[in-house]
Symmetry: C2
Subunit: 255 residues, 2 copies
């Protein structure tokens, strides 16, 4: 059965979707079979992989509410060995519908903890610690935490750690933080270096050695419906995500 | 009674808090009495105005659940004529608690539609179209929409417009979009200019003439617990927010 990773951080705009899309692509580029699950009602990961909203008939919404299995909803992307369970607008109503549903925190887990034909499943989470993100934290083995090198982003970490602790205690004993990836790092500005130093003090080894630089090609790629690794393989951002994938696989081997 | 504005956009990291804090400060700097309401569980607006989480006894959570009035919870900030109703960690549980509460969408409105000693009330919203944001859209007169000049940010606009339409129909007939403010605009990159052009095509006059440039001083200020306008009045970011405040007051006069 696949390794299940959630890309999560309730702070908005820290690079969750960019990390989920490019990490998934980099893992598939080195031969892994990968499934990306877009759990964000905004559906940015789906767009970033070229899935048009108008062409979606079934989505992660149908998986959460038990109407469909993952294999019925997953679609092949333009990237070899990379499939996606797309988001849909119905997901924005899911939060309220889940509150009174049975097993409301375990629905994604029930759908993913099955023999699936993938080596990795990567879940892109919305910017919130709501029931959708909770479903992801209950379902997965580990969390990859993108952290923008900015002051406000640092502030949200303690809430995320507390939530992970609660999920470990009540729902998913073996959940752990796989690692923290520093994103949008800008060599020219002191704040980036300062935040990076604070994060390494706090998390030590958990912080990946690979740092993702601020790189405009990363933000241009989604408008072409392509991951940066496909849009411009040689750019600094794409190269950083390829290094990150190698680092993650290296850590997995040691486990 | 005060003019009520919500700063909202479900896309994460687009500059909602930075806009709420600096617009509120700029309005108070030109003589208006202003109240900022921090409706985000992350509490970034509270931190950005120097309110320490440990010193908070009552928060917007108590206002939503009817235990306190606004005047009992509002605290004076370091900025003259600017008070804040701070956030608290309890707010992250508010979403689930609100779902089954009576008048769940109208709670903030009940607290704000009163004779309050302010000219403006500005509500900072979380990155989601959840019941907290819905409470803000039901309570206010108008919405200021910060829009980061990036592709993913553009994609979320249609969902925001649809939600505003639903709120107008069912809860708040006179709600309108006061304006769209382009944030983190980077003159050096084509994508910024392209997104800005697309937004002006779509929204026309609703797009403020004032554009907020990417300016590192805006992201340094919160680590000192100060709005940029106080931390570094002369910087490009602070000057842009002062121009935005004048533009908003100018538009208000015409109404
Ligand atoms: N390293 C980078 N360099 C430059 N731009 C980046 C980088 N990483 C992400 N971006 C851009 O920054 C914006 C925010 O990134 P992204 O949407 O991936 O964050 P997110 O955490 O998924 O946001 P949300 O909280 O809304 O889900 C996007 O427009 C994206 O294209
Ligand atoms: N014009 C700007 N130039 C440079 N940095 C900025 C600018 N505006 C905001 N920032 C920084 O970008 C990050 C995101 O901004 P901010 O937190 O205000 O967005 P937000 O929409 O409130 O995020 P969230 O969706 O998490 O509430 C912050 O670290 C902030 O300091
Ligand atoms: Mg995202
Ligand atoms: Mg904010």
């Amino acid at each position: 059965t696949p390794r299940l990773l959630a890309v999560a951080n309730q702070k908005g705009g820290v690079g969750k979707t960019t990390t989920a899309v490019n990490l998934a692509t980099a893992l598939s580029a080195v031969g892994q079979n990968v499934l990306l699950v877009d759990l964000d009602p905004q559906g940015n990961a789906s767009t970033g992989l070229g899935v048009k909203r108008s062409s979606i008939t079934k989505s992660v919404y149908d998986v959460l509410f038990g109407d469909s299995e993952v294999y019925e909803v997953a679609v092949q992307t333009k990237v070899p060995r990379l499939s996606i369970v797309p988001s849909s607008v119905h997901l924005s109503g899911a939060e309220i519908e889940l509150v009174s549903a049975s097993k409301r925190e375990h629905r994604l887990k029930a759908a993913l903890r099955k023999p699936l034909p993938y080596d990795y499943v990567i879940v892109d989470c919305p910017p919130s610690l709501n029931l959708l993100t909770l479903n992801a934290l209950v379902a997965v083995d580990s969390i990859v935490v993108p952290l923008q090198c900015e002051f406000y982003a640092l502030e949200g970490l303690s809430q995320l750690i507390k939530t992970v602790g609660r999920v470990q205690k009540h729902f998913n004993k073996s959940l752990d933080i796989h690692g923290v990836v520093l994103t949008m790092f800008d060599r020219r500005n002191r704040l980036s270096a300062q935040v990076a130093a604070d994060v390494r003090d706090y998390f030590g080894e958990k912080v990946y050695k690979t740092v993702i630089p601020r790189n405009v090609r990363l933000s241009e790629a989604p408008s072409h419906g392509l991951p940066a690794i496909v849009y411009d393989m040689k750019c600094a951002g794409a190269q950083a995500y390829i290094r990150l994938a190698r680092e993650i696989i290296g850590r997995e081997r040691k486990l």
